[in-house]
Each structure stands twice: as structure tokens, then as C-alpha cells.
Amino acid sequence: MSIAVGTDDVYERELVNASEAGPAPKRIVVGYGFWIFLLSDIVMFSALFASYAVLAKASAGGPTGAQLFSQQNAAMETAFLLLSSYSCGLMTLAANSRRYFRTFLGAAVTFLLGAAFLTLELREFHSMIALGATAQRSAFLSAFFTLVGCHGLHVTIGLIWLVLMMVQLAMWGFRPVVERRMLCFALFWHALDIIWVMIFTVVYLMGVLR
């Protein structure tokens, strides 16, 4: 972005000395804006976590967390998602050094790991619903499906976003706009990881405690 400066020498000197070199670079502005969006998302998840914490024991005579949750499944989900965050980090590094093949490879691995996570989650939901543990069964299950489902929905949107970014990268190469969007995607993906770690702890680990 170009900035207009006055003709006055004093003004120009002051401008440089005071580090008032015009508006911040767009990458910074976009990253900042996206952080604000992520924080708003985290506020929403905080409300869902608070509801879950209050309702976790309200199983209304229906199945409880200890009966429903499989530690093994949750551990695998966690492993897939954390590894996908790692491959997403590798993708960002490759994109920063503008290596196409490594970027695409990182994206493909991230996508596959994310899809594997989602498959496990949907299988878990399916088996729970087959057992009659639907969202309507109890307050605990309503809170569970809202919280975990909302995270899963975010992962789904993230996967669609990742595919779109790869299409844009193939179409336009490393344009500034593509780079900024990939930066936002990486922030989004890592934030989902943090939320999952909370879900793993609060829902799955604490859920099987007596």
C-alpha cells in the first residue's frame, strides 16, 4: 500500500523517525482481524463448554458418558487432529518459502488426517444414535451433540476451505491474497485443535471419571 507524504522535509523525517510509516501491512491487518473472529468463536465455545459442564451429569436415566465414550476412539481422533495441525504447520513453512510441491503435499496430508478425524467422529455419533443416545434423549446428550457437533462442523468447513485454497493456489500461485487466506486457514485449523484438546479433556477424559 502506498502512502502519501507531505513535501515538507521535517514532516518526512518525523514520519520515518516516529515509525509512523503509514498503515500496517495488510498481512498484519488481516491476521489481526482473523484473530478477533477466532476469539468470538472461542467465546461461543466457552458458552457451550459451560453448558456441557453444567449438564454433563443430567443423563435423565439414559446412557451416561462413561457408558458411551470409547477412550480408544477419542485417543485416535486426538492423534489424527494433532498430527494434522503439525502437517498444517509444515504446509505454512513450505508456503512461506514458496515451494509448491511441499505446500500441496502438506495440504493433502492435513486434509486426509482431518477427514480421518471426521470419519471417526461421525462413526461415533452414528453408533451412539443407533443405541438410542440421541440429542433428544437427555440434557447431557443435547449438550454433548451441540458442543462436539459444533467442533465437527468447524472441521468440515475447514476441510472445504482447505480444498478451495488449494484450487486458488493452483489457479493464481502465491499471490498476496492467497498467502493471506492460507495464513487465516492455518490460524483457524490450529484454533480448532486447541478446542479439541479441551473437548478431549472435558468430555472424554472427565466423562469416564467416576
Partner: protein
């Protein structure tokens, strides 16, 4: 109760989100029309931050009768009273801003003074309601209804009206007609108090909110007074509409050619009215609070010359883009459909929003560059009193 808790833990901070921009408007208006800097700028910022934090700690006062323990109610009662303190700081700051200033009683100032008087009433009844035992007595009564109208109407609507009259010339290039503005203010102010003061009385007499009919004769005179007040408020609304129509008709007489119709203090008044898309041809230097005012003082004292020579450079501005509006349109459809379980319509809304975002995503040129010549031409044809 889970839903009510979630609703109000969002909803109470939200009323501060409503009222905070209005506080900002009152700060601008009181400083500008008193020709003084805002009193206690730092304490104003501190009070705003205090309100931001405290606003998250008071939500339970919306349902003291839920049946939480006395300690829980006491906690939220105390926090609700404490939040009155930073708000009081703000009121004193505005008063001290006006104190000793050369106050010009314009329409925005009328709304600001009207706000301070009315809002203090609302705040006082709010502190009463913050006491859980009192709240148990008047819960769900018209006393409560009168209270929250007494804070929200001056806290939001009066602020909006002050800001509308204050920035209208900046946005549209001509001032709003003053006499109809004054008439509108007085109708609103008198009508509002007539409409809501009697509601405190009938609330204390036991009238609950949202009644489909009533058969208590002793309420009736008070409700007639309230109705008369509502009619006067209607007169205020009509005056506002007339004000706008008259102002548009007489826009040539009301034209603001200086860019600074109120002898303003802040940077927006150093641009033309209405300002160009790029706002400032050259980024302004800001060394102090009220930068434009300080510059005007220096120029008038001949300590500094207005900028005469300038070197213009092209400016990059975002292209006009309807994506936000169109997405919001589809989001409204989706929200409506989800509330009423109209699944096909929710699908249409989501698909529409997704298609809009995709169109935006694959349309790479979001920026347009304004040439240096165009910026220079605008500056030459729209001279303002003091350029920064």
C-alpha cells in the same frame, strides 16, 4: 434456566454494547460544543474498560427470582451496584466538560443534556432494582419496564439522535434544520417522561408487564398520563421526519462548505463534507488529543501556516463490494428458517450465503487505486478551512 443464563450472560454485556457507542457520541458532542477538551479523558477510558469487565459479572440480576441462594443473589446484586460507579464517573466527566465551557445549546447538546438527566433517573431506579429483596417485590412489574426504558432510551436513542444531528453535515454535506430538531427533542423529552414516570407508580401498585387487560380502576389515571406521553413522543417522531424533509428541501441554504460546521475538534472535521472515499489526501499527523483543534489554534495564532504545497500520491482503497450485505441477507433467511424449522428455506439461505462467499473468494481484485491527479483535483475543488 440454562437458556436464560446463557441468554443474559450474552444479553447483559450486549446492553453495554448498545450504550457504549452512545457514550462516545456524548463525549464528542459535549467537548465540541463546550469548546473544551473532554474532561478526564483517562478516567473516561478507565471507566469504559471497567464497564467492559463488570458487564460480564451482573447477568443474574435479570432473574434474582430464579431461586439461587442468597449468597449468589447478593454477589450479583453487589456487582450490579458497583457497575453504577464507572457510569457515574462518565456522567461527572461530561458535566465537568461542560462546566466552565462556552456551551452552545445546539440540537446534539439538547439530546446530550436530556440524556444525562433521564439516564440518572434510570440509573437510580436501577440501583434500587439491584437489591435482591426490592427486586423480588417489583420483579416483572411495570416498575422494571419503566427502569429499563429509562436507561435504554436515553442511553441509545438519544445518543443516536445526537450523533445523527452532529454528523449529518459531515456525511451528506448539509446541516439538519435546527428548529424542527429542537421541537423533536422537546416532544421526545417531555413525552418520554410523561409516558414512563407513571409506570413506576403503577408498577409499585402491583401492575405486571404484558397484561392483556386490567380491571383496577386506580391504575387508570396513571395509564392515561402514560398514553398522553406516548402521543407526545409520536409528535417527536413526526418532527424528526419533518426535520429531514425540510432539511433536504432547504439543503442549499444549509450547505456546509467549510467541512467544519461546528468548530470541531477531531480529524473528521478537517475533511470536506461529505468526505471523499479516501478520507485524507495526506495522512494527518496527530500529536495530541483533539489534533484538529490544536492545529486550528496554532494557525490562528500564526505559529504555523496551513499546508499550501502538497505532493500527492496514489491511494489504494477497497472496491465497493456488496458481499457483506448479500451474505447478511441470506444469513437472516437462514436464521428465520432455523427458528421456525423450515428446513428447505434454511438450505436455500445457506447455499445463497456460500455462493456469495465463493463469488467473492474467486474475484481477486478487491482494491482500486485512486490516482494522484484525482486526489489533487478533489483537494483543489474542495478547499477546507484548515488543512492538516
Amino acid at each position: 434456566m440454562m437458556y436464560v443464563n446463557l441468554f443474559w450472560v450474552w444479553g447483559h454485556p450486549e446492553v453495554y454494547i448498545l450504550v457504549m457507542p452512545a457514550y462516545g457520541i456524548y463525549s464528542e458532542v459535549s467537548a465540541t460544543f463546550s469548546s473544551k477538551p473532554l474532561f478526564g479523558y483517562r478516567s473516561m477510558v478507565g471507566a469504559t474498560l471497567a464497564i467492559c469487565v463488570l458487564s460480564y459479572t451482573v447477568w443474574l440480576h435479570h432473574f434474582f427470582t430464579m431461586g439461587a441462594s442468597a449468597s449468589v443473589n447478593a454477589f450479583f446484586g453487589i456487582t450490579s451496584m458497583i457497575i453504577g460507579v464507572p457510569t457515574g464517573v462518565k456522567i461527572f466527566n461530561w458535566l465537568f466538560t461542560m462546566y466552565g465551557g462556552r456551551v452552545r445549546i445546539t440540537v446534539p447538546v439538547l439530546w446530550t443534556i436530556g440524556f444525562m438527566v433521564t439516564f440518572v433517573f434510570g440509573g437510580l431506579t436501577g440501583v434500587l432494582l439491584a437489591l435482591p429483596p426490592v427486586d423480588w417485590q417489583v420483579h416483572n412489574s411495570l416498575f422494571l419496564v419503566a427502569h429499563f426504558h429509562h436507561v435504554i432510551i436515553p442511553g441509545v436513542l438519544f445518543g443516536v439522535m445526537a450523533g445523527y444531528n452532529y454528523w449529518f453535515p459531515k456525511a451528506f454535506g448539509f446541516r439538519l434544520e435546527e428548529r424542527w430538531g429542537i421541537a423533536s427533542f422537546w416532544c421526545w423529552f417531555i413525552g418520554f417522561h410523561l409516558a414512563f414516570m407513571p409506570l413506576y407508580v403503577v408498577g409499585l401498585m402491583g401492575m405486571t408487564r404484558r397484561m392483556q387487560h386490567y380491571d383496577v380502576l386506580s391504575w387508570q389515571p396513571w395509564l392515561w398520563v402514560a398514553e398522553a406521553g406516548a402521543v407526545i413522543v409520536l409528535g417527536g417522531i413526526l418532527c424528526q421526519i419533518v426535520q429531514l424533509v425540510v432539511s433536504i428541501r432547504h439543503r442549499e441554504q444549509l450547505r456546509d462548505t467549510t467541512g467544519d460546521p461546528w468548530n470541531g475538534r477531531t480529524l473528521e472535521w478537517s475533511t470536506a463534507s461529505p468526505p471523499p472515499a479516501w478520507n485524507f489526501a495526506v495522512p494527518p499527523r496527530v500529536g495530541e488529543l483533539d489534533a484538529f483543534w490544536a492545529k486550528k489554534q496554532r494557525v490562528r495564532a500564526k505559529q504555523e501556516q496551513p499546508v499550501s504545497r502538497r505532493e500527492y500520491q496514489p491511494i489504494e482503497v477497497p472496491r465497493n463490494n456488496p458481499t457483506g450485505f448479500v451474505t447478511a441477507f441470506f444469513a437472516v433467511i437462514t436464521g428465520f428458517a432455523l427458528i421456525w424449522h423450515i428446513w428447505w428455506m434454511a438450505g436455500v439461505g445457506l447455499l445463497g450465503a456460500a455462493a456469495t462467499l465463493l463469488t467473492y473468494m474467486f474475484h481477486p481484485d478487491e482494491e482500486v487505486e485512486i490516482s494522484a491527479e484525482q486526489v489533487a483535483l478533489f483537494d483543489r475543488t474542495h478547499p477546507v478551512e484548515v488543512s492538516l
